[in-house]
Symmetry: C2
Subunit: 358 residues, 2 copies
Amino acid sequence: MKEVRLLAKKAKMSDVAKLAGVGTMTVSRVLNGSAPVNEATKTRVYQAIKKLNYQPNPIARSLRQAKSNSIGIIVPNFYDPFFSTCAHAISLVAKQHQYSVSVSTSDEDANIEFTEANLMVLNHVEGLAVIPAAIGKSCFDRPEFHSTHIVTLDRPIRGHRFNSVLVENQQGAIEAVKHLIDHGHKRICCLGLSDKLYTIRARHEGYKKAMLQFNLTPDQYFGAVTEEATRILIQKAMSGRKKPTAFFVSNNFVMRHALHAFSKLNIRIPDDVALIGFDDLEMADIFVPAITVVRQPSHELGRVAAELLFARLEHKEVSLSGQQIVMPVDLVIRQSCGCNRRDIAKPRAIHKNSASFS
Amino acid sequence: MKEVRLLAKKAKMSDVAKLAGVGTMTVSRVLNGSAPVNEATKTRVYQAIKKLNYQPNPIARSLRQAKSNSIGIIVPNFYDPFFSTCAHAISLVAKQHQYSVSVSTSDEDANIEFTEANLMVLNHVEGLAVIPAAIGKSCFDRPEFHSTHIVTLDRPIRGHRFNSVLVENQQGAIEAVKHLIDHGHKRICCLGLSDKLYTIRARHEGYKKAMLQFNLTPDQYFGAVTEEATRILIQKAMSGRKKPTAFFVSNNFVMRHALHAFSKLNIRIPDDVALIGFDDLEMADIFVPAITVVRQPSHELGRVAAELLFARLEHKEVSLSGQQIVMPVDLVIRQSCGCNRRDIAKPRAIHKNSASFS
DNA sequence: TTGAAAGCGCTAACAT
DNA sequence: ATGTTAGCGCTTTCAA
């Protein structure tokens, strides 16, 4: 009953060298193209590699070269489709460059972010693409990261060393609010997660700017962190003497809470209040009513950030540091803002009732 | 203008040893607790570590020990919230065990899966938690993985070496279909992604079993890979002489397509057809109508799989291999199946109309 | 309880 | 064009 395991031990470079009748350096050079090698020898080496099924040990290589052909990605979490889309886009670019990736989440906590980033650096990642954590302060200034290329996306961090790829948060918010104003709304309420978050703050600034430009009074709330908190905020807003007739919701997380809350509170959209969100939702278009949103180019954001990172890795153009690339957003007009009132459901409902009477 | 960078070189173990006036082995032993060390020396070592801000180099450690205190996670993608939830749950358990994680995606391609898993093994991960790719054959039997502990989740793979954590796919489908039958439906159509996918196949088998048990004719379609394909499948189903009065949609990906398609085709739910899906959707409860689904314990699935993996890593209990753990699912009854017809929107619509008449 | 030497698998630097 | 030597930073092994 004894299980015999003929576990052929993993071949190493010296095995290949022996079999090919060369020194290890020749094998190394064949593998890395780091110096010219005679065609005939090269062939022998490749044959030996194949025969032994040799795979270079990336750890030994990392240790010796103090680099690893890999980059690290840190995002707040995988839940938010915006983050996972960014992470995916970055991974794709990395694969194109033959780099491997190491993905981690910060849970929006700068301490965890530091721990994870540090671990990656200890593991010799050559660069880091980060969506900085919202809570606490990202500390990529620390000496641990002095020799690591870092690009942030979605949110910037202080420091002239870092490039950032952002979206037009403020402009997008302005467009959304203006659209609501065009619909005739004067009391527009703005609902947000936390005023500590860069993106949220920028969007709320856009909101305020647009309101003030039209001599309207801004009316904004932060702290919509849970569905309940959001519901309470909405109730508070709706119980004032001057009830809002429209809501601008500054990210998709809060939007999900808000939709739940509106549903529970029996507030109809867009009949009772009009609604526009920032960041698209997967099913926004088949929701009833379809949700009007400011769409961010999440995939592009990841792609551009990754390309920037590789540009820096390859050309060592650290000179361009501190730059910010800002990507455009666009308003996707659907129904929750009051446009396109086809109201499919209503006529049908009436039809159904009359049918049941017949 | 020259920027002086006083980049204090990273301290290594010998630096610590020198400062503490001991040999490197003592430092190593203090750090790893691999042998008793005099309390006083220990203190001196800790002081030196702190003073030099020493961090052990995990790469050197990996090279020497041929292990890395890390596990690998491979999921098909990050998009599907089911997968990202699993990945997150696994990461949590790993952190509790002080292990670091390496996450990667297979894009449902067994070749990519192999490449990524192989890379992880070369990087000395001690174990692998995998949702096996749907396309192609996962090849964890290969000698490369002979000394790696592997646990799969959501989908099993052949081989007595591997434990799997699965959900009650078939039973869940049976319950869903029976529920539709309880509503009086006789022509229930089943819509799925691919018959190559373990989970889908199991659910479709459940569907078939339930149908046959009640002497109903199964009517199932695969290939709902895009929204358009799904729409065409639905149209095909609905154009037959015996139009289905209900749909069972076997995963959340197809459900999203189906909802889009039903909306485009002006098919009302649950008036024209009733609908139940497998796997919950983020906004299923506020959708109009709210979607009835078979809910899977995705977080638990990840947690249990990870715990199984660590049990094997720690106790080396390879003896229990080949086991499958099956987790229960539950039917979350909302409205799309025909239950709970509160029809919030309708009375209001009537109210609104009558109001406008008054 | 502690230290010295050897070596994990690879490549940089210097030979030839 | 190729081989030799040394060493990346750590831990295993052996000796004290």
